[in-house]
Symmetry: C2
Subunit: 222 residues, 2 copies
DNA sequence: CCAATCTCCGCACAGGTGTTCGATAGAATT
DNA sequence: AATTCTATCGAACACCTGTGCGGAGATTGG
């Protein structure tokens, strides 16, 4: 399913039908559609609706007023980009290994079709909405962060952090990334492991580069 | 909200509107309703619809064909405890501390109104539906299970486990509960810490009592 | 370059659809 | 017993609504 074969008008029609139905609880009439999309003739709307039915985006009951609904396929196609209430879709953008450079994505972080997507309850990431992505942890090198092989780390891309937040930091001199609690202490930075039995490390502030803030760690034992 | 004040006919109308809309994607006409409920005159249907609007069960757009929908209150009254698609509500039943006995709830595990409830994506708990509950981890005594203070452990109550599953086990002689990977080895049981740098412990099979299986560990850094 | 197809328009029409009205009969009220 | 209220019916009406038709401009393919 993909909307490439459709004209702009047809895409607009589909969207309008969805919004109208959600807003009112019943679908629009041919004339409602025409008015919204900017079509003066009802026959033209009819014409485009037939197309949409033919392409499988729409289902329609002949001669029944408001007798149309978005097809299940199209609904599903839509849903990918608009999760249900309380859920948020987070793109899974790759893997991390401590001891190697973290691949922090550069451009816009969006849900593309090809992405792996994980579902995260909204309140688990504190309502964060932009620049949120997930990485799967590769290997056991992050045990001191209490993060295990296979865990999923949900991050928000940001360059600064407040004391006490857990961040992904790059240690420039070692060319190495770790997950630690961040504390600024004068010219130094204290990086505190999550594991309370392990000792912090102190590094020069110039030597650390914050890659992102850790919002959550998810471990699924299947 | 309750349907006591309604006549049988009106209840039937409400139900029909819901079913029709679900089935077709658009609401029925006045005549559709009349036909289903057994009313010959459209005016009588109109009459009863007005009543339903007045009582708050229905919302209606005047003079608009099929311009009706069940009110939010009535819909809620219908669905009450069902979480949104893809989410599952899991009751948070207490706290665990390694080194102490795990409070495994005894009776039915249901969503009571007073419970703390956390939201978990369905596929994160592998579609498990019964006997699932959550506990908050108290203290740092479970570091060897890679579980930190404040983490949330999602469990399914069960008495048996397959090899390789992570379980909450009671060590009877010590009167102590831990989270470990479970491996049956003859008359012994090998309990393997999640932390790959820690050694397993071997105990007599009679000495372990499985309390539940760990489905997921959730850590939120707020 | 011409024919075929696509996309659009306005208009007219038939049937769908909500509303209104007058009437009836039983129940509740006075 | 008279009156009012409730619930129903059938019929008529006006407007809503989807469809069909003839035509026009744009685009495409040979």
């Amino acid at each position: 399913m993909n909307t490439d074969k459709l004209s702009d008008r047809q895409r607009k029609i589909l969207q309008f039908i969805g919004e109208f139905t959600d807003a009112n609880g019943y679908p629009p009439t041919v004339r409602d559609i025409g008015h919204d999309v900017g079509i003066s003739s009802t026959s033209v709307v009819s014409y485009n609706l037939k197309k949409l039915v033919k392409e499988g985006f729409l289902e329609r009951e002949d001669k029944v007023s408001r007798g149309l609904r978005l097809s299940d396929e199209y609904r599903e196609f839509q849903v990918r980009f608009s999760p249900p209430e309380g859920l948020r879709f987070v793109p899974m953008l790759g893997r991390i290994t401590a001891g190697e450079l973290l691949e922090v994505p550069a451009g816009d972080i969006t849900l593309a079709d090809e992405d792996d997507i994980i579902e995260v309850p909204e309140d688990m990431i504190g309502g964060m909405t932009d620049d949120v992505f997930a990485l799967r942890v590769d290997g056991t090198s992050m045990v001191d962060a209490m993060v295990n092989d296979g865990d999923v780390v949900v991050l928000r891309r940001q360059q600064t952090a407040r004391n006490g937040e857990m961040v992904a930091v790059l240690l420039k001199d070692r060319g190495e990334t770790t997950l630690k609690y961040f504390y600024r202490e004068g010219k130094q930075v204290r990086l505190q492991p999550a594991n309370p039995f392990m000792d912090p490390i102190y590094v020069d502030a110039d030597n650390v580069e914050i890659q992102g803030r850790v919002l959550a760690v998810l471990r699924t034992l299947l």
